[in-house]
């Protein structure tokens, strides 16, 4: 004898897909998905048909053809005999290097300005407000062009730095002089800096046609080892402090551990500086940093820095006043309160919007085209696109590349975010 009669088993009817709330949302999602897929399919089909009508196809073979053009700034070897694919990689590296420096400087500027904007000093906080509002509210492109034009129009030409024998004999000064004991020249084309050179370098090995400098690798390894050794030293000092209550003096040991091995290694490798010297039309030797690069980094960091400053300010203001009052009550000075109490907590609020600022900055590097900076947009999306006529392929590749860069940055930042976020136990 059954105590409760079972609910009558309903057979599934087609109308239930619409009228039954259990299935309706599923139905809608499936229909929308089908529509979206159809639309994408139609776009792809339309593109292929139209290309076929113009007697074109989608083909990435051009990436293996000879590029034939030159690129000024190249981080890995490239000549005009290299392929379009390698030119694209050169462009990608140029994009990444600008994005890297931009992110670093923007963060530094942003943190300082954000903190100073909350300063009790009226003048300082107002100055920071002016900076933030000026940079936030003017298009980035204008800043880039402004910085570039100022640098290229106000600085002297390279040949103004020339010193001839007659000039020495008659005692006349050249029209322009180098800075910092004749080591740095800022011309209207770029900045020439001394280059570090090794007399007894270790050479380099090729990894997938990209040469890797062994001396640099070794130096980096030594620096990392020094930092790790220094950490061990500090850890030991803390252990002693906790045991005995007295902290051993570590500063000179730290200095020695951090710097001596690197200096010794560099001296062993025959390190010296190669100074730029004016010869012919331009400065030869040293490192030449083009103004397009400098202008791009300066404008991007100042512009993004203004946004980051606002994010930092918001993060700090999100921390309750009681935190700093408690810190003051414990006798911490304002600087230590900021670095030990406020900022670590504020980071939790700051990091998520900071990620999107980094992404913005990275994508904004494509504005470098306005100052003739050959980044990914300038090589793959500019010259290569033009010389090969493969618009669709180049654009797709470029979009995919920017997408991948952005995803990598955001996943790295998400890892960092989860490491600083509030850990509930």
């Amino acid at each position: 004898m059954a105590l409760a009669s079972e609910a009558p088993k309903e057979s599934f009817r087609l109308s239930m897909l619409i009228y039954d709330t259990r299935y309706r949302s599923m139905t809608i999602q499936v229909v929308v998905l089908i529509l979206v897929l159809l639309f994408v399919g139609w776009l792809a089909d339309n593109t292929i048909q139209n290309l076929a009508a113009k007697d074109k196809d989608i083909n990435f073979g051009f990436l293996w053809n000879r590029a034939g053009y030159d690129i000024e700034q190249q981080l890995i070897p490239y000549t005009n005999d290299s392929t379009h694919g390698r030119a694209a990689i050169i462009g990608l590296l140029n994009t990444l290097v600008v994005a890297f420096f931009g992110c670093v400087f923007a963060t530094i500027i942003g943190v300082f300005v954000g903190v100073l904007r909350l300063s009790n000093n009226w003048l300082v906080s107002r100055l920071m407000t002016v900076y933030v509002e000026a940079f936030r509210n003017v298009p980035l492109l204008l800043w880039i062009i402004l910085v570039f034009v100022v640098m290229s129009e106000t600085r002297p030409q390279p040949r103004d730095f020339r010193v001839t024998d007659e000039m020495i004999a008659s005692g006349t000064e050249p029209a322009a002089k180098m800075w910092f004991w004749d080591s740095v020249a800022v011309t209207n084309r770029g900045t020439d800096l001394p280059a570090p050179v090794l007399d007894r370098g270790l050479g380099s090995i090729d990894i997938g046609s990209v040469p890797v400098n062994l001396s640099v690798l070794l130096t980096l390894a030594v620096i990392v080892a020094s930092v790790l050794a220094n950490r061990a030293l500090l850890r030991r000092a803390r252990a002693i402090q906790e045991e005995t209550g007295e902290r051993p003096v570590t500063w000179w040991k730290s200095l020695a551990i951090l710097f001596l091995p690197t200096i010794a290694l560099l001296m062993a490798l025959g390190f010296h500086l190669d100074y730029p010297v004016f010869k012919g039309f331009n400065f030869q030797g040293g490192i030449s940093v083009m103004h397009s690069f400098t202008a791009l980094v300066i404008a991007l960091s100042l512009y993004t820095g203004a946004f980051i400053a606002e994010i930092v300010r918001a993060g700090i203001m999100a921390i309750s006043r009681g935190q700093s009052e408690a810190a003051f009550a414990l006798g911490l000075r304002p600087g230590r309160t900021m670095s030990l109490i406020i900022l670590p907590q504020a980071l939790r609020v700051i990091i998520p919007p900071l990620i999107s600022q980094y992404l913005n900055l990275t994508k904004n590097t494509s504005l470098g085209i306005a100052v003739s900076y050959l980044d990914l947009r300038g090589t793959l999306g500019g010259i290569t696109l033009n010389q090969t006529g493969r618009e669709l392929e180049c654009m797709l590749l470029m979009m995919l590349t920017y997408l991948i860069i952005s995803l990598i940055i955001s996943s790295l930042m998400n890892v960092f975010n989860s490491s600083v976020k509030l850990k509930e136990r």
Partner: protein
Amino acid sequence: MKKSVFLGTLAATTMIAGVAAAGTLDDVKARGELICGSNTGLTGFGAPDANGNWVGFDVALCRAVAAAVLGDQNKVKFVPTTGETRFTALASGEVDILVRNSTWTYSRDNDLKLDFVAVNYYDGQGFMVKKDLGVSSAKELDGATVCIQTGTTTELNLADFFKFNNISYTPVTVQDDSEAQRQYLAGACDAYTTDASGLAAARATMADSENHVILPEIISKEPLGPVVRHGDNQWGDIVRWTFFSLLIAEEKGITKANIEEVAASTTDPEVRRMLGLEGNMGAMLGLDAGAFKNAISANGNYGEIFEANIGSATPIGLARGLNALWTQGGLQYAPPFR
């Protein structure tokens, strides 16, 4: 039901999208206006004047085509294109014809699916430097910084030239002619390179034009000409023969001033055929009988257009050189109008 309607619309749209090609002549006639891809502003070749009217050597060819097709040389809309955007603008149908100092090359003809229908200017790439630089030959430019327009054949020629002569250079790749001139004048580059005609045009607009020299080396062949889309042969023929009619007019001494007189009195059978007085030459191309007469009377014959825009009497001051008629030792030669 709904889905089938949707799919039907989809198929229809796709088909329409697929069909929209060919028949440029019909498009232009239906629109009542020719859309001509032009320079963003190169004095003498294609630039708006003080009143905003486009004038220049390339512009005049567009006007001649408009006169031939629509009977009115003013029914043209000029779309400025940069070295980077020009071929995309043409291939996508944004412009009907591109007359913008574009060099005829194998890959543009075949890989970009374009047709170069004629050569209206035989050019070559040169270098301009400031006089006080003390350079008299391009081979002395070792280590120099060179400004160059991106998306051009000159970019590739430059790389080849320096490599062949085993000398080095620093390229500064700029977007358009005006930015290249700004950087060159500011001294951000030692030399500016582009087609020799373009250099002459650029120099003509500089305030201190006597302080700049164009070096003697011509490092490439640059046959510049009007471009149309591949596959529409009728339209290509219209542009080609409009240009040839201007050449034949110069050869036969027909000018803007005397064309009515010539039309009334001539007995030369070729001229009579070209001016539409006998035969049905215009109709063969789907044009009016007087199409080529309109083209010539728009801005005169080839020689007149040359002299008015870039000739020795203008600030640009180019000699005819290779662009003289074949009868005068040049390369400009039109097939017979028969």
